[in-house]
């Protein structure tokens, strides 16, 4: 499939000179992209690069079956272009973002409004217009930005007929901290810590993607031992968050044994990351060129001991969960996203795998340590809350097994190399399978080797639409379990 594409091919975590990226006039570029998407490619990134008075569009595509990425661009232009969203809904949020950031207007976009733009006077984001269902029986429920718990802010607008949700619109942007804007001309001294906090529960995945992009721009890669350690830390991050999610799902249906046990076990996994680098979220571990802290053999022994205990605990807690018929019944056929919908909107991560899509960066686009060691992809077909819980519990087992195997076979050698400065005019892309799904970082260097453009796509950017679709026809009282079953990031989208 990818062999006949006019797009330039590149492997995950590699670079290509910008001048070798093929360019088309805007309308033809949209057509070319649509053609690739129609025959099975996936849109990883779609963004603008300012050039002269206008900007050019860039598409990063993934051919999962061929284990390759592809990149193409339009020639610079300003004004409008025919929207890709019309034929390929997975582009809808990307095109809204490009319109907001570069002013390139996707003509024919069905719902063009800002993603995260500031109102100018310190008010709420300027995305206040909502799709409304009219009718005497219809009522509207508005929730947020501040929610009733310890959770990030975002606004949900439900159109309901009685209990039934006809439509849910999700408006984010409240967490916008200007991460991408701050990267222009970088890397700066705050860049690494901003990458680690782009989505703070996904520190390792974002930091690894950034490090791999930096290494690709410089035409090198991190030493094998660092790649091994990054893979270990990535799975610890997955274990902690999946455990927390299983507990949160149990809590939302008042199944307290699993809820309380998982709350504690999640902390046990976070403490394993802290054992490696001192920080429970992995801050300070991954650096461009390698890792900062080593996992020596004595430390590994300690880690394995605690890991086995935590894995046994979580296996027990999750077994209670699946043993209870009342709980299974509560999750079945609730919040269903159908496989065709999932493919159409470009879901990633456990949410996609819970719709039967075999889609996992660790397997499809192996980079770093995953070129040598992979775990089986966990898939469940039913697309409901049950499936999303099931995929998580399967991944808990497989991540645990993967860690046991990898910890027994460490790579030797240096932990870090001195990174050469980025080559000028290089384009690089890196995908990492974070616990929510595909984390994508893309960088383009300028003539001086600084960032001309840096793009971050958190998996939540693809997946929020999935939550909105899951709620269609569901009862509004099912929103909490649907929401927990996705558990998406707000700041990862808002950046």
């Amino acid at each position: 499939m990818s062999a006949s594409t006019p797009f330039a091919l590149l492997g995950n975590a590699t670079g290509i000179p910008w001048e070798q990226v093929p360019a088309w006039p805007a309308a033809e570029f949209v057509q070319a992209t649509a053609k690739e998407l129609s025959r099975g490619a996936r849109l990883c990134a779609w963004f603008g690069v300012p050039e002269g008075p206008g900007a050019c569009l860039v598409a990063v595509l993934a051919f999962d079956a061929d284990n390759t990425l592809a990149v193409g661009r339009s020639s610079p232009f300003s004004g409008g272009y025919p929207a890709l969203t019309v034929t390929h809904p997975q582009a809808h949020l990307f095109e809204r973002e490009v319109w907001e950031q570069q002013g390139l207007k996707p003509e024919g976009h069905p719902w063009l409004k800002p993603v995260r733009r500031t109102n100018g006077n310190g008010n709420a984001p300027a995305n206040g217009e909502f799709f409304r269902v009219e009718g005497r029986e219809v009522h509207e429920v508005a929730v947020g930005p501040v929610h009733a718990g310890i959770i990030e802010p975002g606004h949900f607008r439900f159109q309901c007929a009685g209990e039934e949700v006809l439509h849910l619109e999700i408006s984010l942007g409240y967490q916008h901290r200007g991460v991408e804007e701050a990267l222009a001309g970088g890397p700066h001294r705050a860049t690494m810590s901003q990458m680690e906090t782009a989505a703070g529960d996904t520190t390792i995945a974002h930091a690894t993607a950034h490090a791999m992009v930096m290494e690709a721009l410089a035409g090198t890669e991190a030493p094998l031992r660092a790649q091994w350690l990054r893979a270990i830390a990535l799975e610890l991050e997955r274990l902690a968050n999946h455990t927390g999610d299983m507990g949160a799902l149990a809590n939302d249906v008042a199944f307290l044994p699993t809820a309380s046990a998982c709350g504690k076990i999640r902390g046990d996994f976070l403490n394993l990351t802290a054992l490696i680098c001192g920080n429970r979220f992995g801050r300070g571990l991954v650096r461009p060129g390698g890792c900062k802290h080593d996992l020596e053999s004595e430390r590994t022994v300690q880690l394995v001991e605690h890991l086995n205990a935590a894995l046994a605990d979580v296996e027990q807690a999750v077994a209670w969960f699946w043993d209870a018929a009342s709980l299974r019944a509560r999750f079945e056929n609730v919040g269903t996203v159908f496989p065709a919908q999932a493919a159409e909107i470009g879901l990633v991560g456990p949410a996609a795998r819970a719709c039967g899509l075999v889609r996992d960066v660790r397997f499809d686009h192996p980079a770093g340590w995953h070129r040598f060691a992979q775990a089986p992809v966990a898939v469940w077909p039913s697309g409901d809350v049950f499936a999303r819980a099931k995929v998580r519990s399967l991944e808990l087992q497989r991540s645990g097994q993967y860690l046991r195997e990898q910890l027994a076979a460490p790579a030797d050698g240096d932990l870090r190399t001195e990174l050469p400065s980025p080559a000028p005019g290089m384009f690089a892309a890196a995908l990492v399978e974070g616990w929510r799904g595909e984390v994508c970082h893309v960088a383009l260097s300028d003539d001086a080797g600084r960032f001309r453009r840096y793009k971050i796509i958190d998996p939540s950017f693809h997946n929020w639409t999935g939550l909105a679709l899951a709620l269609r026809g569901a009862a509004i009282s099912d929103f909490p379990i649907c929401n927990k079953s996705f558990n998406l990031s707000y700041c990862g989208v808002d950046l």
Binding site: R116, I150, Y174, H176, G200, G263, R266, G267, C491, D494
Partner: protein, 272 residues
């Protein structure tokens, strides 16, 4: 038979809530550096190698004066500790670093090498909140880590409610506001409205480097560089994110549940 399983499991595991503060605090990992100590007297003349390595611009070296480190801005990456040739900046391993006043986080001058730990609320507020504090949490540009490690205090290991501290779902029910995040411009209005909706008297707790001073996003045009630009802050808890023990210690200290006269590095004891 999960009912019997869970009962058997609970009996086997016993009480999983930690002994702290009556007993010792949980052990922290060896690479957790804890609070920093800055001995400005050790600084060599004209040396400022620590200044440019700090990602959050927390360190300054005014001409002719010792180095000044703002622990509120610090994300504890230890880059300054590693680069200092004189050993003027060191890690103490101490989890305690919550303070009442912003200036108590400014380290470096003689007598101000370490943080000046928080004193309890005044008598009137202690009578109101000392044994029952209801908090509203607002994340305003937080990355999810401070939120997660605040949430953790509600789990069985920490069991925050044994101190009478709970998080509530409405500002109308709250005695205090716990803020995380650098306060993005887009959250400014929501944060202000939450504060306005709370009945007086009320307190504000800023958790994490972002909420204290903007953290990694200090100076970004979209960031208000911390909660203090919007509301008055009564307790600052540094960290990126703070360890749950650091947050708990700060809360207990504010409520006078710890002996605030104990010297640094001694184990906190429960006040009877």
């Amino acid at each position: 038979m999960f009912v019997l399983d869970t009962i058997a499991h609970r009996m086997k595991r016993g009480c999983e809530t930690m002994a702290y503060p009556k007993g010792p605090p949980p052990a922290l990992p060896d690479r957790h550096g804890g609070a920093l100590k800055v001995d400005g007297a050790k600084c060599a003349d004209g040396c400022d190698v620590c200044v440019p390595v700090c990602p959050t611009q927390a360190i300054t070296r005014p001409a002719g004066k010792p180095v000044a480190l703002d622990l509120g801005r610090c994300i504890f990456c230890a880059a300054c500790v590693e680069v200092c040739p004189q050993g003027a900046i060191t890690q103490t391993g101490d989890h305690r670093m919550a303070v009442r006043y912003r200036e108590d986080l400014m380290l470096g001058n003689p007598g101000k090498e370490e943080v000046r730990l928080a004193a309890a609320l005044d008598e009137k507020l202690l009578r109101l909140f000392g044994r029952s504090l209801r908090l509203r949490q607002v994340s305003a540009g937080g990355c999810g880590a401070c939120e997660a490690d605040t949430n953790v205090l509600g789990t069985i290991g920490w069991d925050l409610s044994r101190f009478g501290i709970q998080f509530v779902a409405s500002p109308r029910h709250a005695d205090g506001l716990l803020i995380t995040g650098c306060v993005s411009k887009n959250m400014e209005l929501a944060l202000k409205k939450t504060w306005d909706a709370m009945p007086s008297p009320k307190i504000v707790i800023a958790v994490g480097a972002c909420a204290i001073a903007g953290g990694p996003f200090v100076g970004n045009p979209e960031s208000r560089n911390g909660a203090a630009s919007i509301v008055p802050v009564d307790l600052h808890i540094p960290g990126c994110p703070p360890h749950p023990l650091t947050i708990l210690e700060g809360l207990l200290r504010l409520l006078g549940r710890l002996d605030s006269t104990s010297a640094p590095l001694q184990r906190p004891v429960l006040k009877r």
